[in-house]
């Protein structure tokens, strides 16, 4: 049937293939097309941290509870990489779709708001898994790190991935300019990373800094990751799991509300 003739009247929309699957596929394809920036870059920078800090400094710095420093920092670096790619994904995908207005094609189509939100989220989660997996492929043989509490990690990892994805989506929806995008990266993400307990155990900090770390959401994500990999961390596993899942649920609720109301997406 030619495109120059209209389709028959629609009484009920029944897709041959779910529009959600198309959007998810498009979102994944988008970053696979820019794989050097989207995947290799974050993996390389994280692996360099593991290499320089983990193998060189580990000879001079003690870790936590008898764990070598190289092993100690790997969970935090993996979490940071996941958070970074989550942020990059949301901002490059949603912010640019808003700025260039091709988001209109999605909003005008039969895709439902929650399908759009879910497709963006799932694509960011897949990107986080790819990056984390690639980092571990290098870091495991390099440092000898294993997974001490696989069950805990299985519970924590989805929440960490979800926090990263939703943070990026919310940032992508709220950002009004490229300046916002880059300034959040350098003024928020970077300091949170350095003050998030990736490179040091909490006990080595003075009291004021310790409180600052505990107020840092990234700290709890790192603790959850560390408990999964190393079996121990600065805070009890249940506490980090509770905070991480609360963050995941809260950010998911914010993101869903934005899409449901069309805030920053529709005029």
């Amino acid at each position: 049937m030619s495109l120059l003739a209209p389709a028959p009247a629609i009484t009920s929309f029944v897709p041959e293939r779910a529009p959600f699957r198309w959007l998810l596929e498009r979102e994944v394809l988008r970053y696979l097309r820019i794989w050097r920036y989207a995947l290799v870059g974050p993996v390389l920078s994280t692996v360099l941290f593991v290499l320089v800090f983990g193998t060189v400094l580990s000879r001079h710095v003690d870790g936590l509870g008898g764990v070598g420093y190289g092993v100690f920092i790997v969970p935090g670096l993996v979490v940071q990489a996941v958070i970074n790619v989550g942020y990059y994904n949301g901002t490059t995908s949603l912010y640019e779709a808003r700025r260039d207005r091709y988001l209109h094609c999605v909003l005008a189509s039969p895709l439902r708001w929650w399908e759009v939100d879910a497709a963006l989220t799932l694509a960011a989660v897949v990107r986080g898994i790819l990056v984390a997996g690639a980092v571990l492929v290098v870091a495991v043989p390099l440092t000898g790190i294993g997974v001490e509490r696989p069950g805990f990690l299985l519970l924590a990892a989805p929440a960490i991935l979800l926090v990263a994805a939703q943070f990026g989506i919310i940032a992508g929806a709220v950002a009004g300019s490229l300046d916002h995008v880059y300034s959040v990266e350098s003024l928020v993400l970077l300091p949170l990373g350095f003050l998030g307990g990736i490179f040091y155990p909490l006990g080595t900090l003075p009291d004021g800094w310790r409180l600052l770390s505990e107020l840092n959401p990234l700290f709890w994500l790192v603790q959850a990751g560390r408990t999964g990999f190393l079996g121990t961390a600065d805070v009890p596993g249940w506490a980090s799991l509770l905070v991480v899942w609360t963050l995941a649920a809260g950010l998911t609720a914010v993101s869903a509300t934005m899409f449901a109301r069309g805030a920053r997406l529709q005029a």
Binding site: L3, A5, P6, I10, W22, A97, S109, P110, A267
Partner: protein, 243 residues
């Protein structure tokens, strides 16, 4: 009596800054018609289109597309939209832009690909299928936006100034395709600043000003009603009376 393609009742849109773009606008467009919407910048044309296409959240009023409430999947699946701005996905190839767009309308992989290829051929972009949209010239990007609007074989095709800034050849191509589409039964809602375009293509015209329809009829009826020699005179007179 067949269901109208578009039925807008008491549509109102006031933006956050207090600007009222649509002011209790009523508009019915019969199925199968070629309808022109004329008005100055800021009159509410794009806000009206956005409200129909789920891009703008109206403050009040109701919109139905072929009897389906605007915003429902059935209404959205019935509409094709080519916006005034060139808004194409810059990450994908030209063919992928079309394939995925067709997919958003629920088509299967094979049918999406087939329609994308047909659309590329219709607008003369087959040779550019593998490049990305930013690599296309402005005119080619305009063709791509137009082709994209056809992929779901819309019953209501909405074109917001589709020929703004295009060369004579492309305008002629678009006119030819629009006439073919309308002859095949597609309802077309066209906004344009080119009065001769509205007169040449549309069987009915409405003039919008400050968010309300201020005149409506065929070009001949409106010329007679306002004693205007040309559609350009008519446009000036109607808008002058309205203000």
């Amino acid at each position: 009596m067949p269901e109208p393609a578009l039925a807008v009742t008491g549509l109102r849109k006031t933006y956050a800054d207090g600007f009222t773009a649509l002011d209790d606008l009523d508009l019915t467009i019969p199925a199968g018609s070629f309808f022109g919407l004329l008005g100055p910048n800021g009159a509410g044309k794009t806000t009206l289109i956005g409200s129909v296409c789920n891009l703008v959240r109206p403050t009040g009023g109701a919109i139905e597309v072929f009897g389906h409430r605007a915003g429902t999947r059935e209404a959205r699946a019935s509409v094709g939209l080519a916006e005034q701005d060139i808004n194409v996905d810059r990450f994908l190839s030209v063919r992928q832009v079309l394939v995925y767009h067709a997919g958003y309308y629920g088509l299967g992989r094979r049918e999406s690909g087939r329609r994308a290829d047909e659309a590329l051929e219709l607008v003369g972009l087959t040779g550019k299928a593998r490049v990305t949209a930013p690599e296309l010239s402005g005119g080619m990007q305009r063709r791509l936006v137009f082709a994209r609007a056809l992929l779901n074989r819309p019953r209501l095709l909405i074109l917001d100034e589709p020929t703004a800034g295009v060369d004579v050849d492309l305008r002629a191509d678009i006119w030819r395709l629009l006439r073919t589409l309308n002859a095949a039964g597609t309802t077309i809602l066209l906004t344009t600043h080119y009065l001769e375009e509205a007169e040449a293509l549309c069987d009915e015209i409405a003039l919008i000003r400050a968010g309300s329809i201020v005149a409506r009829g065929s070009a001949e009826e409106l010329r007679a009603r306002y004693a205007a020699g040309s559609i350009a005179d008519l446009y000036q007179r109607v808008l002058a009376v309205a203000s």
